[in-house]
Every structure is written in C-alpha cells, then in structure tokens.
Symmetry: C2
Subunit: 391 residues, 2 copies
C-alpha cells in the first residue's frame, strides 16, 4: 500500500552508495578505502571524557534540556574567533547556525533554495552526499569539469550565463572525491564570476584543517560574505560521531529561512554534545591536536601514492593531494571501476567507484580512495591487491 504513495522527491533520490560502504566497513577483515572515516587518532577520547564530566558538573540540567535552534552561543563564539585568527574573517556569532553535521547544511540549502527544475551548479566529479541531498529537491544539476587547479572556468562561465543556477556548490580545499585544491587564480575567477552573474556561492570546507603540504588558503566566500554560505564541520578534527557542523550565513533574511528549516528538521542539534565540544575546544590546544592528524595523514597519503606507483599499471593515473582524506584514480577509458569494485570486494578491498560522483550516474573509469583509516601496512597491502586486479 505504500509504494504508490511515495513522493516524487523520494523517487528522485538516488539509492545510496555511502550506506553500502559503511556496511562494508563493518566487516573486520575488509580493507576499506571506501568510507570517509577519519583516523581514530583524531578522537580525543580522554579529553572528551573530562569535558563531559566538567560540563555536567558545571552546567547541570542545561546540557540536557531543549535549546535554541541556532546552537550554543559559546561554541559559535569559538568558531568566530578561530576564523578571525586564522583567516581574519569578520563574522559575528549570530551569523552562524550549528548544524547536525555538514550533511544537514546541504539538506537545508537544498530545501530553502531548490524548486523542481531549478539549476544548481557543482563540480564534476562532485561530492556524492551533496548530489544526494540536492537531488531530493529535483534540481537540474549542472556539473562543471574539475581540472588539476580547480573548476574549468570557461565551462563555469557558460553555465552561469546560459543556465543562471541558483547556487554554485564547491569544495575548494582537498575536494571530495578528488583531493584537488583550487589555485589562487581559480579562486579569484570563481569569485568574480559568481558575483558578475549574481549566483550564490556555497563553499564547503570539511578538509581545510587537514593541510599537510604548503599553507592553507583562505575562503573564497570570505571576500563576499553577503553573497555566500560557508560550511564547516568538526567531523574531521574532533569527532564525526557527534554530528556537529556549522554554516556561516551573513545575510539575515536567508539565515532566518535556514533557521526555520533547521527547526522543522530537528529543532536543534544535540546540545549535550555542543557543550562537550565547546568545552573540549576551550580546554585543549586544538592546533597541537590537528597537527598530529596532519602528520599521520601525510604519511598515509605518501604511503598510498608510493604503493600506487609500485603496484598500479602505468596506464592508471591518480591525483597527488596536499591535504584532506582522498585521492582519485583514473583507469584507462574503456575500463569500468564498478566492475573492478565487484572483483576487489571479493578480495576484501573496497573503494568507491566513480559513478555516484557524477550527476548522470553513468558508469565510470574513475575511483575514490581514502587513505586515512588504515595503517600504512594495510594501505600497501590493499593497493597491492588492487594493482593485481587491474593487471
């Protein structure tokens, strides 16, 4: 009796690859390059325990009660201060909405902007969680080719000119799925184009803190705060399990709409965890903590790249990230990564085939590999097995 009652929206939402990935990682013997799982080194277990005890002792019932939709004020103040210190951004705590992970921010943005058929522009390949979140609202997605230094600017201008997308969604730092970062030049070009064509910029930055080579670049949206939305998260630096992210929305009218949408979605994000996270950030040196993560990921990335050089056939190319959690490999054109996935999972190695990162869901010769959640020995062994299967 249900099937005929399902909404168009739900019928338009692609079945999820992430879900099967997470299920796959639940099996102990599998070598998983599939998920976007941070290394457990990033979870400050003892410090979180201390923070939990402290916030319960200090604030009592407040950490357990209903709370305001926008999120815990001291946590929002912390975010402001950090962005000011790191990037000289001039934002106020009121510009921030705490979200239930960045994924919720993507859903809220889709909800507040997209009418059926509206054009939305994003990267090709693009983040599958964003494609899934936006797809629910039945947009006309236009994906713009990602080059080694960022978006193809000509393609972007063509789409802005011909299609007038409501917003452009980008991950300029260590992009998911490719690991690519935008050059300064491309950042400036993207900014001037979205301004010229009055397109909203949605800049997502889950990985910016994970810079292990060179220096991190500031935000594109920092130069146009009124025309943009900036997303951040604590999932990669403290814990994804608490589902805490944020969105910076300087335009008040829009922020009210997003706030109402958030309220209808879950009233507010877990306030118990917001208190704990804020206390943890206030009582610990986050720079020291994140530096440990960076050093580990640098080693893991280098190990994966070196193993790929050794074991992958020469006709397989791949990106060389300077931060973040992923790299992107491209098989010869006629090969299917989905077919490889099937054979690899039998050998207990999994990755994400390129398909779900394309808006047309086509079969692809590309694949995303995560290097952050395996030991260097495991990385080498997994890449060795993949290399054998490729040959």
């Amino acid at each position: 009796m249900f099937e005929e009652k399902i909404s168009e929206r739900s019928l338009a939402t692609p079945p999820s690859f992430i879900r099967s990935i997470l299920k796959a990682t639940e099996q102990e013997q599998t070598i998983s390059f599939a998920g976007g799982l941070p290394n457990p080194i990033s979870f400050p277990q003892e410090a979180i325990k201390e923070s939990t005890n402290r916030v319960i002792d200090t604030f009592g019932a407040k950490v357990f009660q209903y709370a305001a939709t926008a999120g815990l004020l001291p946590l929002r103040e912390y975010i402001c201060n950090r962005l000011h210190t790191k990037y000289q951004m001039e934002i106020q705590p009121d510009d921030i909405l705490i979200t239930t992970g960045s994924q919720q921010a993507l859903d809220l943005i889709g909800k507040v902007f997209i009418n059926k058929g509206d054009v939305v522009a994003l990267e090709k390949p693009g983040y599958l969680g964003a494609i899934q979140a936006f797809s629910q609202y039945q947009p006309d997605l236009h994906a713009i080719t990602l080059e080694e230094d960022g978006m193809d600017i000509n393609e972007l201008e063509q789409v802005l000119k011909d299609k007038a997308p409501k917003f452009l969604y980008v991950i300029p730092n260590y992009q998911n799925p490719t690991g690519i970062s935008y050059s300064d030049e491309k950042r400036n070009q993207v900014l001037s184009l979205v301004q010229q064509y009055s397109c909203i910029l949605v800049e997502d930055d889950p990985y910016g803190e994970l810079c292990f080579e060179g220096t991190p670049k500031g935000y594109i949206s920092a130069k146009a705060p009124q025309g943009s939305i900036l997303l951040g998260t604590f999932s990669k630096t403290v814990t994804p399990g608490m589902r805490l992210g944020y969105m910076i929305v300087c335009e008040e009218g829009l922020r009210k709409r997003l706030n109402t949408a958030k309220e209808a979605a879950d009233l507010h994000s877990n306030i118990f965890s917001q208190y704990i996270l804020w206390d943890y950030l206030s009582h610990n040196d986050i720079e020291v903590h994140v530096e440990k993560i960076r050093m580990l990921y640098k080693e893991q990335c280098a190990t994966m790249l070196s193993a790929m050089k050794t074991y992958f056939p020469k006709n397989v190319s791949f990106t060389r990230p300077t931060g973040g959690m992923f790299l992107w490999a491209t098989l010869p054109q006629e090969q299917s990564s989905l077919e490889l996935f099937g054979r690899a999972s039998k050998e207990n190695v999994v990755f994400v085939p390129g398909n779900p990162f394309y808006t047309d869901g086509r079969d692809a010769n590309t694949m995303r590999l995560n290097y952050t959640n395996s030991s260097c020995e495991t990385i080498t062994e997994g890449i060795r097995r993949l290399g054998q299967l490729m040959n």
Copy 2:
C-alpha cells in the same frame, strides 16, 4: 540577492512560534507555560556521566566514529524488548530507525510522502511542530476536530472518503496541545477507518510513558504494523538535549526510503549519545526513574488545575489530562488568546496561543499551558497572574 531565489517550499513554511517561545524561556524571570520543556528531574545527570565514562572506556573509538544510518543496534534491540514487554508488540530491531528527535521523523515522513497539494489529515488542534514540518512540502492539510475522547469519527470518515489523504497523523496519548487521550472505542474506530480507506496511520507517542492516572493504552498501530508508522522519543523520559527518537516502520520498502531520506538529512544520529543512552537504559531501572517523573507531573498538573479553578473566570474552560505535559484552555469565543499573550508576556508569564495549532493559522480563543517545568509555587503564581489578566 537571496529573496528571489528562495524556494516555494521555504516560503510556505510558517514562521515559528516554538523558536520565540524557546527564546522567551531563556529569560530567567519569566514564568513559562509555553515550551514543552521536561522537568530537569527527568535528566539522570550522574548516571549519564557514569555511562559516558563507561562507553568511552569500553568501546573507545567506536563511539566517536561515523556509524550506520539506522542507528545503534543494541539501542534498537532495547526498544524492541521494551515494546514487547510493555505492549506485547512483535517487532524486530531492523524495523526501527533511530532519528534525531521525533521532529526529524516528522520531517522525513513529509519528505517521503508529500507531493505539493497532497492531502494529509491530522488533529484540530494539532501539534505545531508537525504542522510546520509537513507544511514545508506544501500539502493540503485537513484537520479533524478533536473531542474529549479523541477524533470526531464522522469528520474523519468524511475526510478519508472525500479526500483520500496519504496519511493520518495522530497523538492518541496525552495529545499535544490538548492533553486529551483517545478512548479505546475511538482507537478502534480510527484503526478500522484507516484500514478501510487504505490510509497510512502515523501514530506519534512522545508522552505515553507519562501516564499519571489510569493505565497506559497500547498502540493503535500495534494492530496494523504493516500499514502504519509509530514514532517514539527519549526526550521526555531521559533527555531532549540529545535529540534521540525513533520510528518503527515494519514495511521494508518504505523503511528503505525513509533510511535514504535520513541519510541525506544527517547521515546518522549522534552515535556518541546513542551509546550513552543505551548504556544508561541498560544499567538503570527506567521504571523507577519514569515513576518519579510521573509523580511530579501529576502533582504539577493537579496544582495547575486547582489554580485555574481558583483564579480563572468561570467562562474559561480547560481539559483535565491524565498524563503528559500540557493542558488546553478555551476562552470565551470572542476573546483572542494572542491578545492575552501580549499582555501576559508584559507580566512575565508566557504560554502558547492556540493559533499555530490550527492549519489555517486563524486567531483563536484557545491556549496551551505546560505544567512540567515550573515549581508548584510558580505554577500557582503564573496562573494567578493570567487569571487577573482574563478578568
């Protein structure tokens, strides 16, 4: 540049009364009968601290990592066992999705079922959070008059017959906003009607545990698990701050759709808190804990009723709940509770005027009063002030 880009969906979502209520409650001197705030007695602070330490020590990184969308298996097993023990319900852990509060369940249900213009039936007056969540998807809401013992059955049949709603949303135990409970007869009538007209039953039960007079009744949906969705929450018995609720969906195809919608919304609910909640429930006698809450709310409800009898004019009527957190007062027909709200808030007493509980948002002579979050002295004083303003 934003306003013209806002979706129809967002434009259709009513501005929120709950938000201003929660803001009002942040002022210390205000007597608030407005929110749905549980009494802090329901927050087992020390036990939660113990559980946090224990789950971190026992499970380590797992409590901090990404997790499966459906939710923590042992928590879902706990819910199954409890519903089996209490109501002899035969459900499986796989029938359960953990949600980010019941509010998320309402949003997901709207998302998965409602196309613009689809008919949805609910109670008049109905829960404002549900009206808000569903409204985002632009349904044609049909509200069915609530009588002292549940829905007006003739009206319900008429709507089912003439309008074929996709689903019927009800809160049969201590309804929000009225505090009314459905009689056994009305429960049976609702069940046979939704079955006759193939309408999905969405049964929401945030308050069923808070029965302080008589014995709790089982679920309508327990008799038709394949044609219904049952919502539950830990917000009223353990803590709302952790935003943990659940939905029971026995039909597999529908559950997959809801799971995909949840994944697109926030990947999964806070797993750190799911572990803590499960550990708390496993290591403590929840019956003893909930009994304390029941006894307190019974006294608070009796105090409010007694104060209303003393201070309210005789032409103001009100419900007499046997459980839950709210009661519902009706002013003489020509009076406006919104006008009273304006005057009362100046006297530092707030409640929720009836308006947001009606789908047509009309001015109303009704009001919701919450009795669970004030001391008996404060309840009496607040009602005294309201009584003065009514005279």
